[in-house]
Symmetry: C2
Subunit: 248 residues, 2 copies
Amino acid sequence: MTHSIPRSVVKNLDLFRAVPDKDLDTVLSLARPMRLNTGDTVFQQGEPASQFFVLLHGHLKVVQTTADGEQVVVRYVIPGEVFGIAKAMQRPAYPATCLAVEESVVLGWPSSEWDRFMTGNLQFAANALQAVGQRLQDAHSRIKELSTEEVEQRVARCILRLIDASGEKTDEGIAVNFPITRQDIAEMTGTTLHTVSRLLSAWKDQGLVITGRKRVIVCKVDDLIRLAEGAVSGVDRSAARKKPVEPF
Amino acid sequence: MTHSIPRSVVKNLDLFRAVPDKDLDTVLSLARPMRLNTGDTVFQQGEPASQFFVLLHGHLKVVQTTADGEQVVVRYVIPGEVFGIAKAMQRPAYPATCLAVEESVVLGWPSSEWDRFMTGNLQFAANALQAVGQRLQDAHSRIKELSTEEVEQRVARCILRLIDASGEKTDEGIAVNFPITRQDIAEMTGTTLHTVSRLLSAWKDQGLVITGRKRVIVCKVDDLIRLAEGAVSGVDRSAARKKPVEPF
DNA sequence: CGTCCCGTTGATCCCTATCAAATGTAGTGG
DNA sequence: CCACTACATTTGATAGGGATCAACGGGACG
């Protein structure tokens, strides 16, 4: 045994659910653990997809950069999830960049092992398919939202999703578990950091959320759900609207 | 043999690529063919996912309806593609409605057979994963476009994608192979039929495309590519912008 | 040949991007 | 420990890309 990774570490991962212990031992023996500091990249967009990974601890951000330098946050990876499985879908290169937003620990395998895992264990194949299927559903939800909803709804839904996937109960409300900026939220919802900032400020005034540098805590979840579902907010849009001066 | 489906019909489908003939015979014996008229639905959003399908001939539209009745076109299914594989991703119900936009022929299997195919043949599992992976990539592209590009680029790209996936060379240019309305294009690009109509009209004036009822033919592919990549169009946006009357 | 359905086009409005600038906050090195 | 710096956030002002509202025109199909 080259590493001292306990079997229990992978046993509870979705990707390895219901995979027999003897196969898990093989899996473990091939795993390469990796420690990351905030800002470290696991892989870069366009780079050959030489490995696939599971996140054990921390949080990662997956970002696509467009031709003209704009960025889109594809998703956040939370502990227990697989990522970087480009090769499994027959892509030679990673389609996005993946970086740590806080100290994190990942487990990596050479992409060549993917096929071995697939062929060696049917449960593994089914688990992988389900994981990708779930992501496809999520992507379609996002497309629907970007196509039909207004910014406020989208941002509300985005934050709800964040606390749902990775929220932490505090005495003030439910907090997003990892550092996230207005810019990040904007890149997830197809808007600008300015608009996100204005929305959060308005919500803060109404006591809906508590905000801080790279921090969001939701106090009134129900009210936020109402906004996500299209209720009209109390945000005063008329502030900017000026009544034109009557020409006599 | 209950049906007279020739083996060659499924042999060339991506989903069954490299699957041995003996397995194909099993697959065929369980297949249920179905003929569809324009407007017929294969399945409805929310309905239990009792079957999965392959399109043999024609074209289908996959549509999601939002809570408030708006529609989003998820994708068009072209001959040879799998669809309705909700159950493979462990979803109990279809997440969208699927309907024929022209006369079509599909092949259906009971969802329960999916697992049998998966376990019976590893190549099948890999093919399925690749198909879903490709769709995930497509979905991410769309998210990126909806987030960062303007309407004209998105519509241009949408039409390019249509002729790429299902274009037919004519002596006037490359035609979209199936009936499609301005409304459909709008629902694919997150805009309104009005805006799509205006864009197509402008492009028609410039000789970029030829349009008709439910028809689009691209004459100058290169120019359209240029638009999709963000070149400024010749569309006169100032038409609507009125110079306010000088008050003396 | 009338009736849908699809497409076109004008006019107006407003949500939100953009431009601009100030304030606040964590981290760092002297 | 504080000044310095880099990065995050806030907030105001303005403008414009498209949605929306409204009406008409035209082709297909029964």
